[in-house]
């Protein structure tokens, strides 16, 4: 008998006396927290990420200022010009390792948890480009901010690879002291538009 059939057979035997489904109650929603964008900013900053709010017309300038002259990679359809930036066309990991910064858009912002979710469409690029460089400048539109995790899950397409980002890379592995910056970008700069 194949391992597959044997395991499935054992599962069925183990559950022979069990009624199949239990009702799954809907998980509770967070109460109305008022200004979601303000909450989002507060919660992102709580992870020691930098947040800059700007008007749509100022976006390009704010991004240039955030990069502060760092060598930069951008996804194919970022939607704004970043002077001097390399547009990703399948750079190798070693090539990305020699670049300081990346600028991407995002798909969703979650206010309750201060989380940004990327779905790696062409305005955000492949997963590798927002991972290897040490500075991630992430542009989030105020209209993309939702209240909580279930709202984000409803908007996201699981067929896409997704990266949920809550602050810069961190570890608590040494005496459970939180330290920002291990393997992912050590600096996360969120530019909130609108």
């Amino acid at each position: 008998m194949s391992a597959r059939d044997e395991i499935l057979g054992r599962v069925r035997a183990a559950l022979a006396d069990v009624a199949p489904a239990v009702d799954v109650p809907t998980a509770p929603r967070v109460p109305n927290r008022g200004d979601l964008v303000a909450l989002f900013v507060e919660r992102v900053e709580d992870y020691r990420a930098t947040v800059t709010r700007c008007a749509p017309g100022d976006l390009a300038d704010v991004v240039v200022a955030a990069l502060d002259g760092a060598t930069t990679v951008v996804p194919p359809r970022l939607g704004i010009a970043v002077p001097g930036a390399v547009v990703d066309d399948g750079l190798s990991a070693a090539e990305l390792d020699r670049i300081d910064a990346v600028v991407t858009r995002a798909r969703v912002g979650i206010a309750e948890t201060g989380t940004i979710v990327l779905d790696h469409e062409p305005d955000q690029g492949r997963r590798a480009i927002s991972l290897v460089p040490d500075l991630h400048v992430c542009i989030v539109d105020a209209s993309q901010v939702v209240a909580d995790v279930p709202d984000a899950i409803a908007l996201l397409d699981p067929a896409r690879p997704l990266t949920w980002i809550s602050g810069p890379s961190a570890t608590s592995d040494i005496e459970l002291d939180r330290v920002e910056g291990v393997h992912g970008p050590r600096t996360l700069h969120v530019v909130l538009v609108g």
Binding site: S169, S172, G184
Partner: protein, 500 residues
């Protein structure tokens, strides 16, 4: 095969050694109290935490109760998304699959995301025997691997090490397996984390094969989920050409939407954060992005054994947050090594016997490694009633000895008690003897319990095992039946005697 550490003594012996290590106790007390406080703060922020727990428990319970259907759905979704699905009955089979996929690509090393399933099956050792180096990339796992140590916590495997010890391990061991630690290495956590970043970066950039586990596997979409903090997971899941994920069959949830309560419960329970820094989800292959060959190994290794246990099957709801370890008064004092398994603490004390059975002495000692205080149940985000399962597993241990040719002391004592209780005359004699013992103890004992009642200290002979760690209250001088006879059931008004 079982995820237990080879040659570990039973819990009481290992615990005694751990209790003598004052450095270990200091490290553990500091760490568990820090994480406990953080958890309490972020859990208090959620108004409906209890409802969220109920929802999370229900998601996992529903998935388990119809597990065969969900596994078949998961397999079909994964295959549709371009992944190759393997099934492994046990550790050996799972390790052989990972080794053969790795070898098929001519690779002699893999980078690893922290994964309990791969630790449970002893994957690193199995790959090493095949000439394949497995590099742990989680900081705590790296500390454990470089220190040739054993993990002692589910979330923070190096919780038993302090910063000075970690600095020493990095200085002495990093150079032998790659980029050495910098000369100026201090014991600042940020500096140590920086050294790990430098050390592992060359491995991430070079590796062609990665091995991960998964926190959740979504049946209807074929999505795997890895929850992490450092970005080492993202590196492994993104940069190599080939990704092999070893996933316990109990990780299944039915639908994408059902991830919701779990993704809210896990970080708050685990690291005490509103959300962990990084969560990655992927469904098979994405052309032009990430690994272009994806394997998923669905692992049984005792899970169907646990599933067949009516009381114990709820342990398969576990999402490996480790909140139960951090609040456990036993874990806090003895640490993880004493449990002799990759699953320590209260959850380990039920999971190991459920996965492996209680036929060996070490596993059989685990259900007793608890005071049954119930703190673990209170913090469990998926409401596993650990104390009830512990009690049930104690019964399983006793049952497993019923046919022994030489009965255990406890069985003899129970037999003697049954014989005594079966006959009124025998019971009367036993009560007289007990009253006499009470009088003798009352006169000579130097131990007094709170409330003034005297107690026996350490007794010799067969009772030594019991009284070595407990006070045995002196029996009352008068039994209930003696009191009843003397006072005509209290109607004489005589409440005296010694009814203490």
């Amino acid at each position: 095969m079982s995820g237990t550490f080879v040659g570990m003594p039973a819990f009481p012996t290992a615990a005694r050694a751990a209790l003598g290590d004052t450095q270990l106790r200091r490290n553990l007390a500091h760490a568990t109290h820090t994480i406990r406080d953080k958890r309490a703060r972020v859990v208090a922020e959620v108004e409906d935490w209890e409802e969220l727990r109920i929802a999370g428990a229900a998601v996992k319970e529903a998935a388990l109760r119809d597990l065969a259907t969900h596994l078949e759905t998961l397999e079909a979704s994964l295959v549709r998304a371009g992944a190759t699905v393997h099934w492994a009955r046990d550790a050996e089979e799972a390790c052989a699959i990972v080794a053969s996929v790795t070898r098929a690509h001519g690779a002699d090393e893999v980078v690893k995301v922290k994964s309990m399933a791969t630790q449970e099956i002893g994957l690193n050792e199995a790959l090493e025997a095949e000439g394949i180096a497995a590099w742990e990339t989680d900081l705590a796992e790296l500390i454990v691997q470089l220190g040739e140590d054993l993990p002692s916590h589910i979330l923070v495997p190096a919780i038993h090490r302090n910063r000075a010890e970690i600095r020493e391990i990095f200085r002495r061991r990093m150079g032998a397996v790659g980029r050495p630690a910098p000369e100026a290495l201090t014991d600042e956590p940020a500096v140590l984390a920086g050294a790990a970043r430098e050390h592992l970066r060359e491995k991430f950039l070079r590796a062609r094969v990665a091995v991960s586990g998964a926190n959740f596997a979504v049946a209807d979409t074929g999505t795997l989920v890895v929850v992490e903090s450092e970005g080492n997971g993202r590196m492994c899941l993104t940069l190599p050409e080939v990704l092999i994920s070893v996933v316990g069959i109990e990780k299944v949830v039915a639908t994408w939407d059902e991830l919701d309560p779990l993704l809210r419960l896990l970080p708050r329970s685990s690291t005490g954060e509103r959300m962990n820094p990084y969560t990655s989800t992927w469904s098979g292959l994405t052309p032009g992005d990430g690994p272009q060959e994806v394997h998923v190994v669905l692992l049984d290794n005792g899970r169907t054994r646990a599933l067949a246990d009516e009381v114990g099957r709820q342990a398969l709801r576990c999402i490996r947050c480790s909140a139960c370890l951090n609040v456990c008064p036993v874990y806090e004092r003895v640490g993880g090594h004493a449990y002799g398994s990759v699953y320590p603490g209260p959850i380990g004390a039920i999971l190991n016997p459920l996965l492996n059975g209680v036929s060996d002495e070490q596993t059989a000692s685990l259900p007793y490694a608890s005071s049954l205080c119930g703190a673990c149940f209170e913090v469990c985000p998926v409401r596993i009633d650990i104390p009830s399962v512990l009690v049930d597993q104690r019964a399983a241990v006793i049952d497993s000895h019923r046919g022994d040719r030489v009965p255990k002391q406890e069985a003899l004592a129970m037999k003697a008690a049954a014989w005594t209780f079966a006959d009124a005359r025998r019971l009367r004699w036993a009560e007289r003897a007990s009253g006499l013992a009470g009088r003798v103890l009352g006169r000579f004992s130097r131990t007094t319990l709170p409330g003034g009642r005297t107690a026996a200290g350490r007794l010799p002979g067969p009772a030594a095992g019991w009284t070595g760690a407990r006070d045995l209250p002196a029996p009352p001088r008068e039994s209930f039946r003696q009191w009843w006879d003397r006072t005509d059931g209290g109607r004489d008004g005589g409440r005296q005697g010694d009814g203490s």
